[in-house]
């Protein structure tokens, strides 16, 4: 009977060890699966980003923007100035027309 104790004890330990191994294996499998999913997601995201990069193909317009804005500023000021000039010329023309009208009223050619 005593001879039986040791093998059964060993058997018990082995069963416990095996059970622990199975647990670790399951844990590792879960981790692998989780990491695999994460990797898939990241790859998917990377593909999306790469596609977005391809779609967004452009160049740096910063310098051109500065240049065009400088010109636009100058042109806008020029336009404002020309509009003011137009108003002034218009006022000057109206002034001459008024002078002529007043002069005609005051010094009509029909009278002496």
């Amino acid at each position: 009977m005593k001879k039986m104790i040791i093998p059964f004890l060993c058997l018990g330990i082995a069963v416990m060890g095996l059970s622990s191994c199975r647990e670790k294996e399951k844990e590792l499998e879960a981790k692998e699966s989780k990491l695999g999913e994460e990797l898939d997601q990241k790859r998917k995201k990377l593909n999306e980003v790469v596609r977005s990069v391809d779609e967004l193909e452009t160049e740096d317009y910063s310098e051109k923007l500065v240049e065009v804005n400088l010109k636009l500023d100058a042109l806008t000021r020029g336009l404002e100035f020309e509009k003011t000039e137009l108003e002034k010329l218009s006022a000057e023309k109206r002034g001459f027309m008024k002078r002529l009208e007043d002069y005609r009223k005051k010094y009509s050619m029909g009278e002496d």
Binding site: L35, L56, V66, M109
Partner: protein, 308 residues
């Protein structure tokens, strides 16, 4: 028999134990494989994450560039719109300048027509000049009126009374003015020089008529030149402000560039600064040319007003 059974069970236990060990070893291999696989996945994950980071940075930069490009497109479209509007306004200004010249010419023409008519009608009529200083000319006949004087026929012969000596009432009636008198003197002087060159003889009435025509044109030309000077002066002021603004921007960008260089950063403000400075120089040159034109216009007005 009992002993044999126990021994058999013991052997079975040992065999079972060995089987468990073997199984355990197989499980250990599986675990190793799993760990290797996890390591490989982790490595790939790190690679993918690093590439993703790079691509995301690239995407962020491209998005920024895209925004700049959109702003550039918008600015370009606005530039084109402003350019075409400016073209229209310039055309209108040109048309209005012509209309203004015509309006001023209309006014001066009418004024001179009226003057000529009133003076022509007065020719041969009698006038009382008793209020003229130092003279007693009553009921004298007008022989001719020029922008400078009223010529009358006296028993002693023809006499010219300068308009400045006439009473205000007559000055007003015959529309005498200093401006007209000065222009007339100049016109007559020019005509006399031309006549002398061509060796022509022109009678006084013809001379008067020609001089009056010339001074009408001169008055309109002076008004036009004055208007041009006023407009150009305003333009020069506006352009000077523009040049100052660009020079200030150029200085600011140059400082930014220098500061960035000192900090060891790469900055591209230098080309902007150069562009702004070049534009400012172009404007300064245009201002100089405009100032020369203004001087030329002033000289021309001086020539037109010059009394010989």
């Amino acid at each position: 028999m009992k002993k044999l059974t126990f021994e058999n069970i013991g052997m079975g236990g040992v065999l079972g134990l060995m089987s468990f060990f073997l199984w355990s070893c197989e499980n250990a291999d599986d675990i190793q494989e799993l760990e290797d696989s996890i390591d490989s996945i982790t490595g790939s994950l790190v690679d993918v994450e690093s590439r993703l980071e790079e691509e995301e940075e690239k995407l962020a930069r491209l998005k920024e560039w895209k925004e700049v490009e959109e702003r550039y497109q918008a600015s370009s479209a606005k530039f084109e719109a402003v350019e075409s509007e400016l073209k229209l306004v310039k055309e209108k200004t040109k048309e209005l300048s012509i209309a203004l010249k015509a309006a001023s010419l209309d006014f001066f023409k009418y004024r001179n027509q009226y003057r000529s008519m009133v003076r022509a009608k007065a020719k041969g009529t009698l006038i009382d000049l008793s209020s003229v200083k130092g003279a007693e000319y009553k009921g004298v006949r007008i022989s001719r009126i020029t922008p400078l004087e009223l010529r009358v026929l006296l028993p002693s012969g023809p006499k010219g009374v300068p308009y400045a000596l006439l009473p205000e009432e007559h000055q007003h009636r015959f529309q005498f003015s200093d401006e007209e008198a000065n222009a007339y003197r100049q016109a007559v002087a020019k005509l006399r020089i031309a006549r002398a060159k061509e060796n022509r003889v022109i009678d006084a009435d013809k001379e008067n008529e020609e001089a009056i025509t010339q001074l009408t044109e001169n008055a309109a030309a002076i008004a036009d030149k004055k208007s041009q000077i006023a407009s150009m002066t305003r333009r020069i002021k506006a352009k000077e402000l523009e040049a100052e603004r660009l020079e200030s921007l150029s200085r600011q960008w140059q400082i930014e560039e220098n500061n960035s260089k000192r900090r060891g950063k790469k900055y591209s403000a230098n080309s902007r600064a150069t562009k702004a400075s070049d534009e400012a120089n172009k404007i300064r040159l245009a201002i100089l040319r405009a100032k020369e034109i203004v001087l030329q216009l002033r000289f021309e007005i001086g020539q037109l007003l010059k009394v010989n």
